[in-house]
Amino acid sequence: MSDQSIAVVGVHHTPYRKTVETQSLEEMAFAAARGALADAGLTIADIDAVVLSTTDQVEGRVIESMVVNGAAGGVSRDVTTIASSGEHAFAYACLSLLAGQAERVLVVVWSKQSEGLDPSHADWLGAEPFLLRRLGMTSVAAAGLQASAYNARYGFDEAAVRSLRDVRQAAAAAAGNLVDTDATGRVVAWPLTDLDLPRSCDMACAAVLTTSGHVTPDQQPAWIRGIGWATGSYDLGDRDLTTFESLATAARMALGPDRLATDIDVAEIQEISTVGAFAAAEAVGLAPPGGGPDAALAAAINPSGGNLFADPGNASGFLRFLQAAQQVRGTAGPAQVAPQPRTALAAALHGFAGQGAAVITFAVHPGGVA
């Protein structure tokens, strides 16, 4: 727990596009960074540290943050690249502020997956080479195993899956947060079809975070009230795939001992699949085990449409954080929940079947960080 209060004061992301052909990665990152600074009413001269996040596996560059660094305003600044996930970059920016290492931090996270000839092949190379790679382990295969484990324990609720897909699609369409797909409904990792999985998109996102002493009267802060992240076993066999243990741990860490997820006004939760959405809602604490279908379909969950209909890879979890912050700031546009939420929770997952997770809680008032 820290008594220091920190906030998100600027947010921007490039438009949801399946493929961005008219901008380079640098141009996308520059647009995101500049937009977030403008949203905060700041210029790059006000920023004393930059946090970047990249995966380096899809777009054909071995240290992608090198080329983005200048576009993100990193030259002559304190720059850290967090490579494990975009959401970790957000958490690290929070740590930098709480540590007094910086007063205003710009975080830039991106994914231009369309540059990769075969992103699924790159994903497969994330499997260790001795066993899992030979078995064909990928994020899609892992999501299928997670879904089959969930269905085996709680039963396959086909109507709930269909409803979830419809609700998310309607919200994403209303908010303009949806990209085209070639999906046809074929089974890709039993029991999941290609309609049950996130649709890949290109995007760069950025946020400006600062400490309470530097929030100006004309800024709309989303106060960060809790940070939690955890990584579970790499080996899927060591995990209970009917839930996301790392997400449950991260949520407990972010909520602290005195708050419940069910007390939160709105949540933006990354979903690795339609069935995974149910387990994620439970892991966050919005429902008991097996109660995910009802909880995930609540109006206050993923008003942006979530990531199932537009998923910018490494930036997907980070984007959930930004969407939740926007709700508390009252700047979520067509996705804005009314009345304006006073609290929000955002949850992110990464790795095979959500090996790692991060959770951030926001509020309209400051009050330290759990």
């Binding site: 727990m1 820290s2 220091q4 990249t54 995966t55 380096d56 596996q57 054909g60 560059r61 071995v62 240290i63 943050s65 090198m66 080329v67 660094n69 200048g70 990193g74 030259v75 002559s76 600044r77 304190d78 720059v79 850290t80 690249t81 967090i82 490579a83 494990s84 996930s85 970790h88 958490a91 690290y92 929070c94 740590l95 930098s96 709480l98 540590a99 007094g100 290492q101 790159a122 994903d123 994330g126 499997a127 260790e128 080479p129 940070i227 939690g228 992240w229 955890a230 990584t231 579970g232 076993s233 790499y234 060591d238 790392s246 860490m253 790795g351 095979f352 090996q355 790692g356 960080v369």
Partner: protein
Amino acid sequence: MRPVGIIGVGQTEFRKTRTDVTYPELVREGARLALSDAGVTMDDVGAIVVPLAPDALIGIGNGERWCIEAIGAQGKPSMRVNTGGATGLTAVIAGYTHIASGLFDVVLVAGADRVSESRSAQSVLNKMWDVAYERPYPLNTITMLALAAQRYNAKYGADERDLARVTVKNRRHAALNPYAHLRTPITEDEVLATRMISWPLKLADLCPSSTGAGAVVLASEDFARRSGRPVAWIRGTGQSSETFWMGDRVGPAALGDHADAEALAEAINRSYRRAGITRPPEQIDVAELYAPFSSVELHAIEAAGLCAKGESFGRIAAGDFALGAPGPVVNPSGGTLCTNPIAVTGLVRAAEVALQVTGRADARQVPGASVGVATAIGGDHQFYASMVLANHLEEIA
């Protein structure tokens, strides 16, 4: 700012290959050594930071996820840092930041690399550059730093023998370091007789591709004092970065100069300011300066303020910066020139300074060392990190 110290250090012997362990097992070796040195277990550790540079060097995407069980970190917060060659030191800075935030008391920073496993590290590293403009030259870290060496030599009047003297000094140091990869002493003439790789750099001017692990345990002041272990206090950290484009560091509109390391100096000066270092040659006893090639050490010494620009090679020729000489000693471990496991090279710089200021560096100990600086460089000389460590929390005299 909340004081943070290094209470445990672990490093394996570095060598070309290790076929007896997987990457997670190697990370585990380093982690266990550091935990044992600190006298703690994973139950005491609140969070983990894993340094891991390009994924392609170990042949697996997000390899940090694979090593979670091996270090017993299931369920704990962990994150990975990647700033190229600076990764290891950036990770230690990240660990420091975790604790300084007030949210954690003990953090383990643990990683490993097996650079030779990629078969051609330079082919991998060529992919750092822009696909259209700079990759086809072909740039790699050797040709890039050969250009910088040419520029330094032309600007300040150094020559190939001056570079050779750096190798001679560091090999002599590495011979005293049981963890170093290249431990055979070498003469100036022997260095000059090695084959030319990219003028003016010859084989003995270059670092090896190393395999091994390194780890440190960091702790809050309360925990560190209660531990009863020798503590290397982190007195200041600093980072900076430079333009990505090599071409932007030449010509009339240059943003930088390949001869100098201005952004490295900026990072070091930030750490000096936080530590209260105003007279580096008098206040710094030991410096572990990231320099994978002999030529890099020359401008790194100058960026650290240990002498003026263009003076370092003359000082080395006079015997300075070496074990046994008066004044600050540079790279008493043998440095990156003798051992370069990319992901943890920067971490080892901090670990070696921690050992020095706590008087635990054995045969390579700088007598009486109490204050030291560690640096690291990543990307195409683009990301820079610096850390000042001392064996006390009082004002540095």
